[in-house]
């Protein structure tokens, strides 16, 4: 392809090829401070390509390809090329990764122990992780958390945080503007702006953390904490995993161990400050 980049996020080495310079340049800016190892073979390939050659110029639209494709996915306009690249990277990891149990969950760490937050889109798991990552937590990832099936440790996947809608202003008010990507307005997921994780989070991205607390946040409603049994946490995490079935018994063993060893709670919260207060309260008990 005409334009390409290599990006390492946690254990995953991406090769990204694009028919256009724009998305690759945007990615290179977001991931400029990430460690580079171009000699490492790529684990996942993402291709952003024009439907037909002339479409590169005339009303250009971006198709997402790679080792895995989703048939029937709509192409995005070129102005959303960065979003297409991000979606492509997520897709390749979600469908192709086998070395870890992959949880659709955000995670932050403190003192070598991980807080893992799993929830639907809109639950606020990404915003909470981003905000905690600006405090004295290490951001491990806003979208995916990797669990080592053999040892049970959590590994980071600290891609650029995908801030959405209200979370953009909330986080932008607290960080150096140089750490924010361009505003992608009116995407199918609403407004999106990427946040480059702090340098210490990127530097520590290979350091494992022991799961110490599992939270299932839900944004909206009065602040509340609901203890969750092992069985329910197991069911929810199998649903939150993109490769549980593919991992077979190794995934089963990893999840049963995790829900047994890690206290789990559902939390509801009306705003980020209340959510963070609940997290700190539960962490103080779990990390004891």
């Amino acid at each position: 392809m005409r334009h390409s980049a290599r990006i390492a996020v946690g254990p995953v080495q991406f090769r990204i090829g694009s028919d256009w310079a724009g998305p690759v340049a945007a990615l290179e800016r977001l991931y400029a401070a990430y460690p580079q190892d171009d000699m490492r073979p790529a684990d996942a390939t993402v291709r952003l390509f024009a439907a037909r050659p002339w479409r590169r110029w005339l009303r250009p639209s971006v198709h997402i390809g790679g080792d895995f494709i989703v048939p029937g996915a709509l192409p995005l306009p070129l102005s959303m090329g960065l979003l297409a690249a991000e979606m492509g990277m997520n897709l390749q990891v979600a469908l192709g990764w086998r070395r870890h149990l992959l949880l659709h969950a955000s995670a932050v760490a403190r003192d070598g122990r991980a807080l893992i937050m799993s929830g639907e889109s809109g639950s606020g798991k990404s915003t909470l992780a981003a905000l905690l990552g600006e405090d004295d937590w290490r951001l491990m990832g806003d979208e995916f958390t990797l669990i080592d099936p053999a040892g049970g440790d959590a590994f980071a996947f600290p891609r650029a945080v995908s801030l959405k809608n209200e979370a953009i202003a909330e986080v932008a008010a607290r960080v150096d503007p140089a750490r924010l990507g361009p505003l992608l307005a009116g995407t199918p997921k609403g407004d999106i702006r990427h946040l480059i994780p702090r340098a210490d989070a990127v530097a520590a991205m290979h350091a494992p953390a022991r799961p110490a607390l599992l939270l299932f946040p839900r944004f909206g409603g009065a602040a509340g904490i609901e203890p969750m049994g092992e069985g329910e946490a197991f069911v929810r995490l199998t649903e939150a995993s993109t490769n549980y079935v593919a991992l077979g018994e190794a995934g089963f063993a990893a999840l049963t161990r995790m829900v047994r060893e890690t206290p789990a709670f559902g939390i509801t919260y009306p705003d980020s400050a209340a959510g963070i207060a609940l997290v700190e309260e539960l962490w103080a008990e779990a990390a004891r």
Partner: protein
């Protein structure tokens, strides 16, 4: 139906992990995860490696648990066994 005999899946094909009120069962043959509640784990345990009719299972459960009437339990057990057969956790003997 009521006196149909079943045999539980061989013990080494199932990985059974109690998780609080639920029990997760991984079937190594189908690679499927089953989530069950009591009395399913107890039924599988009581069957052991033997071919069992609902009456046999009722008898064995009655010896382990405080059951009011093993006879009344039989139609319920027949139903559970046929469900377990559909899940592949027991098969007709």
């Amino acid at each position: 139906m009521a006196d149909r005999a079943y045999r539980a899946a061989p013990a080494d094909t199932l990985r059974i992990e109690p998780l609080g009120e639920l029990t997760a069962i991984f079937d190594r043959r189908s690679m499927q995860t089953h989530l069950v509640v009591s009395p399913v784990p107890e039924i599988l345990d009581a069957m052991g490696a033997d071919a069992c009719t609902p009456a046999h299972v009722a008898e064995r459960l009655a010896a382990l648990f405080d059951m009011e009437s093993a006879e009344e339990a039989q139609p319920i057990l027949a139903e559970r066994l046929s469900e377990l057969a559909a899940m592949g956790l027991v098969e007709r003997a």
